[in-house]
């Protein structure tokens, strides 16, 4: 089939950027969206034109690298799917497809569809871990964990950190991401030790990076390729409330207030 792509082209961080029309001929319905772009790029290279730059890695929906807003929807209109898992059979011959990068102040565009998402890494570095001495692997089930909690933690841990929540949010808020990363630990005994410190530090970093804040539009949940529910943000808010309480009333307030 034949498609007309309207692709965001931007030479560098400082370039203004613009939508360019690129015709894609010979698109097979068996291709994934990224394979379609590969074919278009080969064509561009053959013509001596700079290919469309986009992020990708695993191409099996687990790494969270692929990132584009397709016809106004982050990762495209197929629910619970990353761009790499989106297939061309969901498009029709003659379609016009708008392809734009994630847009947020905290995600500067580097080139075309490639944005710098290291703000998310810095949020992880602020508290998205547990402090343990590494050593021999602990015995399985040494720490009993209720099935319910294990399930909830796993649901949160499904987040691949792609940043679609930020891209879709009218406020460019990263709260669904942070909520998932806070909750995956907060449901487990290993994570509870540092829970207050963690949520406090991660939220502070999130704010410092210039992300917006949640006003409950639920656009994030609608595009999340791992279908993480926006109610996860309520869990983060509970954790944060706990941290505030501990900080104001708890004995250990001093030990980590400036963490």
């Amino acid at each position: 089939m034949k498609l007309t792509l309207h692709v965001w082209r931007q030479k560098s961080r400082d370039d203004k950027g613009r939508l360019e029309i690129i015709e894609a001929n010979n698109v097979s319905t068996h291709m994934s969206f990224l394979e379609m772009l590969d074919v278009v790029n080969e064509d561009l290279i053959a013509k001596g034109i700079d290919p469309i730059h986009f992020d990708h890695d695993c191409r099996e929906g687990i790494c969270g690298m692929c990132s584009m807003v397709i016809n106004g929807v982050a990762h495209g209109h197929q629910k619970g799917t990353t761009v790499c898992q989106l297939h061309m059979r969901y498009f029709n011959d003659g379609d016009h497809i708008f392809i734009e990068p994630w847009r947020a102040k905290a995600f500067p565009i580097l080139k075309d569809l490639v944005v710098d998402r290291s703000a998310l890494d810095r949020i992880m570095r602020a508290g998205g871990f547990i402090s343990v001495r590494t050593g021999g692997a602990p015995d399985g089930n040494a720490i009993p964990i209720p099935k319910d909690d294990a399930e909830k933690s796993m649901d949160a841990a499904a987040c691949i950190g792609c940043g679609a929540c930020v891209a879709a949010c009218p406020n460019a808020s990263a709260m669904l991401f942070v909520a998932a990363k806070v909750s995956q630990f907060a449901y487990l005994p290993q994570g509870r030790v540092e829970r207050e410190k963690r949520v406090s530090a991660m939220v502070a970093q999130m704010d410092a990076e210039g992300f917006g804040s949640c006003t409950n539009h639920y656009e994030c949940e609608a595009v999340c390729p791992k279908e993480i529910p926006a109610s996860m943000i309520a869990k983060m808010n509970r954790e944060y409330c706990r941290a505030l309480k501990k900080e104001t009333c708890g004995e250990s307030a001093k030990s980590w207030a400036g963490a």
Partner: protein, 241 residues
């Protein structure tokens, strides 16, 4: 942000006005207070249907609370100021967070109430100012100061009827209350989410509850101007203007 900078968590009480989530807590709590007031105010107003004596006695009872009345008013004013201040601040931060928009953007879940909170809020504020000038300060209509019932109380009953007999004033009131309930249709469930009192199961119920509650409040409030315009609530004999 450069690659190594790590933000420091702020401590109480500064965190309440600097952290995004703490600000949302304050929004929700002040919103809840305003919501509580709006519900109470509607129930108070509906006493007009019981009769002139009831509503005038109610108004008199409120005014005889003296310093307590001002304590309550002061608390409400502080809450509204915080609500507006933080609401505006969050809104501006959220605009700044997305400096360049998309050429194409589809909304999948959000609705008009959620997207217009700051505008419905601002219009509600403008209305509240007018409403206070009209019925509390009574500076919009010279007749309102002169109304007394047979017991010598200020005649709130006749004042409301006189006010709403003007179709423009009634119309403006109905639109304003509509905007308030629009704000609340998102706000009522939003505050639960903001305070963390929500999960996947409660969500549908909270959203349904918010819509129903906002609709009931809309009907409750507009029943008064409609009853006046429809001639169901009439001026008592003796009030001839």
């Amino acid at each position: 942000m450069n690659n190594t900078a790590v933000a420091r968590a702020r401590s109480f009480p500064l965190v309440l006005v600097t952290s995004s989530i703490a600000k949302k807590f304050v929004m929700a709590l002040t919103g809840f207070v305003a919501f509580g007031y709006v519900v109470g105010h509607m129930i108070g107003n509906l006493q007009i249907f019981i009769g002139q004596n009831q509503i005038n006695a109610y108004a008199k009872a409120l005014h005889s609370m003296g310093p307590l009345l001002w304590l309550v008013r002061g608390f409400l004013i502080v809450c509204i100021v915080l609500h507006i201040w933080l609401g505006a601040q969050l809104r501006i931060e959220n605009w700044v967070a997305r400096p360049d928009g998309y050429a194409r953007k589809k909304s999948l879940k959000t609705g008009l109430p959620a997207r217009t909170m700051i505008w419905t809020g601002a219009l509600i504020f403008a209305f509240v100012i007018y409403h206070i000038l009209q019925f509390t300060v009574r500076s919009t209509d010279p007749r309102f100061e002169e109304l007394f019932d047979t017991l010598g109380r200020h005649d709130v009953y006749s004042m409301v009827i006189l006010g709403f007999q003007n179709i423009w004033i009634s119309g403006f009131y109905i639109v304003a209350v509509g905007l308030l309930c629009f704000h609340l249709s998102h706000g009522i469930w939003s505050m639960f989410q903001s305070l963390g009192w929500n999960n996947k199961r409660s969500e549908r119920w909270l959203q349904g509850f918010a819509w129903i509650f906002a609709s009931v409040m809309f009907l409750g409030y507009i029943s008064i101007p409609i009853a006046v315009l429809g001639g169901f609530l009439k001026l008592p004999g003796g009030v001839a203007l």
